[in-house]
């Protein structure tokens, strides 16, 4: 999801509007004095995404609606919400109205679906089922001027059980903590997992079959396309040529050269395969000698035991471990030889296929050379026809191979998608069946978050905050042994800023995550020196430009030097000097 533009529409000819404000592709900075209307602009952006905002009376009186234009993949979506008491939000796509919503719940469901976020029913604080609202996610990427810097998650309403943890999980694609009706959801998920298991097996089989169909050596799509292009040009040249004989000869020369390259590739591959086969033999021999040593060991043990002077008790246990492991080791080593033989047999088959391909290529080369020598002797026309027909059949074969290769590639992507889907389903299933047990995804996220937070605290020069960050099971960061509530002033602001930047960074690591926006409403500048804030913003900028993400922030003292190509600065357009405002009467 990307923000494109924002506009506040005036209420009547004497109302206040903002004009069209475009967001920068990396950074959007609202730089103005206090009380010039930065916050209403930022809030109306989120207002269009369903957030509950209480505007000041003059804004409600003078402004009619806010229009936010966003891009989701290739879709251009316009969200227009009227400023007033009632929830009234209209969604347009390419200037066609696609839906109108009169409550947050319906809009949330629509919007989460639009940005491809799958939701599950959660539990409210009173135990009833609810779907998560998009507006509950907003505090994770938007820091409100007043409360945003005091807590990790400053929600306006908290009605979901463990709302903070649930929202973070939803944001980064982790399974929910408190699923509603775990039993039924579990049964459904199990069905889906079973279905996916079956699909994965057949998809893998299909992939194997398609791969077997490819002719060795396997070339990349790119190389094949280039070869095809060359053959086509060659055919064109042959068609347009005047000097029939020399063209025919050079055409045949090309083909011979190409077949030779192919022959060399095949030879290389077969050498590699042979070395694999022979090293399997080597390993087999090693295992054999290990078996032999094992036997010797056992004999040696018996020799010791039979020597009664050494130990009079028959079961003294001196070599007990050795005796126990003997039989087992023998079994595994033998079993392993069996496996090795299977894999070697497969390799030998592949080597045989390569041999056939090699001899076929060799025959091609010989026939081309023969044709070439005939062409050299005779007057052109026969050879010319021959050259054209060989080139055409070459093109045909290349196209066939390319088609097969493309099929394999498509199937590979398909297979990878299925695997990813199963992984997601299984972690959801685990959350439904064993909610109290550890989940690999959650722990990975916790480790990653603590790592990223440490880095961002360093960027913000937070000296008084421990860099031993631990994320607890509710996903709340602990700085050393301290919770956020203990911190005051600058340390608190820095910790909150570091947390949000870390979360932002983690979202961006997933290429498909729609959460690629971070909005900071006037970071408390009295708390953090400009130079530290500057380091923070610079780092965010580089993160945003690398990951197709946007950072929006407002400021009254620190001013970021924008790059006109990728950033935008919004300055108040109405009025002059210190009285300049972001909202005013248009055309005045």
């Amino acid at each position: 999801m990307r923000f494109e533009s924002l506009e506040i529409v005036a209420n009547g000819p004497n109302g206040w509007g903002s004009g069209l404000l475009e967001f920068g592709s990396d950074i959007t900075q609202l730089f103005a004095e206090n009380e010039s209307g930065k916050t209403p602009l930022i809030m109306s952006t989120l207002f269009c995404l369903g957030m509950d905002v209480k505007f000041r009376a003059d804004i409600t009186r003078n402004c009619k609606s806010a229009i936010l234009q966003i891009a989701i993949n290739d879709k251009k979506i316009t969200l227009e919400r009227s400023i007033g008491e009632k929830f009234d939000l209209t969604v347009h796509e390419s200037s066609k109205t696609i839906n109108r919503f009169y409550n947050d719940e319906d809009f949330s469901r629509f919007f989460l679906n639009l940005i491809n976020i799958k939701t599950n029913k959660l539990i409210t604080t009173s135990g009833t089922p609810t779907l998560p609202y998009f507006s509950s996610l907003i505090p994770l990427f938007y820091l409100d001027q007043d409360h945003g810097y005091l807590e990790f998650y400053a929600a306006r309403q908290s009605f979901v059980k463990d709302q903070y943890s649930e929202m973070v999980r939803l944001l980064v694609g982790l399974p929910p903590f408190n699923l509603y009706d775990k039993k039924r959801t579990g049964i459904e998920l199990k069905k889906e997992a079973d279905y996916l298991d079956t699909s994965i097996v057949s998809s893998r089989k299909l992939l194997e079959r398609l791969q077997q169909d490819l002719t060795a050596p396997i070339r990349t799509i790119d190389t094949l396309e280039k070869k095809l292009e060359r053959s086509k040009t060659r055919l064109e040249e042959l068609k347009n040529t005047k000097n029939v004989k020399s063209e025919a000869l050079s055409g045949l020369d090309d083909l011979i050269a190409e077949q030779r390259v192919r022959y060399r590739e095949l030879s290389n591959e077969s050498i590699q395969l042979e070395s694999k086969i022979s090293s399997a033999k080597l390993i087999r021999d090693e295992i054999e000698s290990e078996i032999q040593t094992l036997n010797l060991n056992e004999d040696a043990r018996r020799a010791f035991i039979s020597f009664s002077e050494l130990c009079t008790t028959p079961n003294c246990g001196m070599f007990m471990a050795s005796a126990e492991s003997y039989g087992k080791s023998l079994l595994y080593l033998r079993d392993q030889i069996k496996d090795l033989e299977i894999s070697t047999a497969a390799n030998i088959q592949a080597a045989e296929r390569l041999e056939i391909a090699k001899s076929l290529t060799n025959r091609h080369i010989e026939s081309f050379i023969h044709k070439r020598s005939i062409a050299e002797r005779e007057a052109g026309i026969d050879a010319f026809i021959e050259a054209i027909s060989t080139t055409t059949s070459d093109i045909f074969e290349l196209q066939l191979e390319l088609g097969k290769l493309k099929k394999v590639e498509a199937q590979k992507t398909n297979h990878a998608n299925l695997l990813a889907r199963r992984d997601k389903t299984l972690s959801l299933l685990e959350a439904a069946q064993k909610p109290s047990e550890q989940s690999a995804e959650v722990i990975t996220f916790r480790l990653r978050l603590s790592q990223a937070m440490t880095k961002w605290l360093d960027t913000l020069h937070a000296r008084n905050v421990s860099n031993q960050i631990k994320i607890d099971s509710n996903l709340k960061p602990m700085m050393g042994d301290e919770k956020l509530e203990i911190f005051k002033g600058s340390s608190k602001t820095r910790t909150v800023l570091a947390f949000h930047a870390a979360l932002f960074e983690i979202c961006l690591e997933d290429k498909n995550s729609p959460f690629r926006i971070l909005i900071l409403d006037t970071p408390k500048q009295q708390d953090i020196p400009d130079i530290h804030l500057s380091d923070y913003i610079e780092e965010l900028k580089s993160l945003a430009s690398k990951n197709n993400a946007q950072v929006i922030f407002s400021t009254s003292s620190y001013r970021y030097q924008i790059d006109p190509a990728t950033d935008k600065e919004w300055l108040p357009k109405f009025g002059n000097g210190e009285d300049a405002m972001y909202l005013g009467i248009p055309n005045q």
């Binding site: 997992a193 079973d194 298991d197 079956t198 994965i200 097996v201 057949s202 893998r204 070395s275 694999k276 022979s278 090293s279 399997a280 080597l282 390993i283 090693e286 295992i287 290990e290 007990m320 471990a321 126990e324 492991s325 087992k328 080791s329 079994l331 595994y332 080593l333 079993d335 392993q336 496996d339 090795l340 894999s343 199963r422 992984d423 299984l426 550890q438 989940s439 690999a440 722990i443 990975t444 916790r446 480790l447």
Partner: protein, 158 residues
């Protein structure tokens, strides 16, 4: 045989003999020592044996190999073919012997499947509670093992 003849024969056959007996410089396949350290293998075996479907004793080497291959990102789809690795299997046997002799695992005589004892389970639980990379690895291995079992069952049905 005259000396001259002998030299002649020797000189024609020499290259053949040399090439045959020359040591191969490439023993590339299946040489990945650093991967196979016993403690990790032992813990992995324990974590498979702890789950509901117990692994068969005579498959454990291959299973551990496959689980490693799928769980360590860079090995999935690589040519290392850990599932076939001989070294890994030898180590797995050693690890299993250790687990058995320390009474962390028992082999069910009737089914020949591995079962973690209560002490064995405690060790895995301890490792999983540590919430570090190891915990993630063990959980991934458990899921991989689940996938292998399920897929095998589907294949058998087909």
């Amino acid at each position: 045989m005259k000396l001259v003849e002998a030299i002649e024969i020797a000189s024609t056959e020499a290259p053949l003999i040399i090439t045959r007996s020359a040591p191969r410089s490439r023993r590339d396949a299946l040489q990945n020592e650093s991967l196979f350290h016993m403690p990790l293998i032992a813990l992995s075996i324990l974590s498979l044996a702890k789950g509901r479907s117990k692994p068969k004793a005579d498959e454990i080497g291959k299973l551990i190999g496959q689980c490693f291959e799928h769980s360590l990102a860079t090995f999935s789809g690589s040519s290392q073919e850990l599932g076939w690795s001989a070294n890994l299997r030898i180590r797995t046997v050693k690890a299993l012997t250790f687990l058995e002799s320390t009474n962390l695992i028992t082999i069910n005589k009737n089914t020949s499947r591995l079962e973690a004892t209560s002490t064995g389970k405690k060790i895995v639980d301890g490792a999983i509670e540590s919430e570090g990379e190891l915990c993630v690895f063990l959980l991934t291995i458990q899921r991989e093992y689940r996938n292998i079992c399920k897929e095998r069952a589907v294949e058998e049905k087909l």
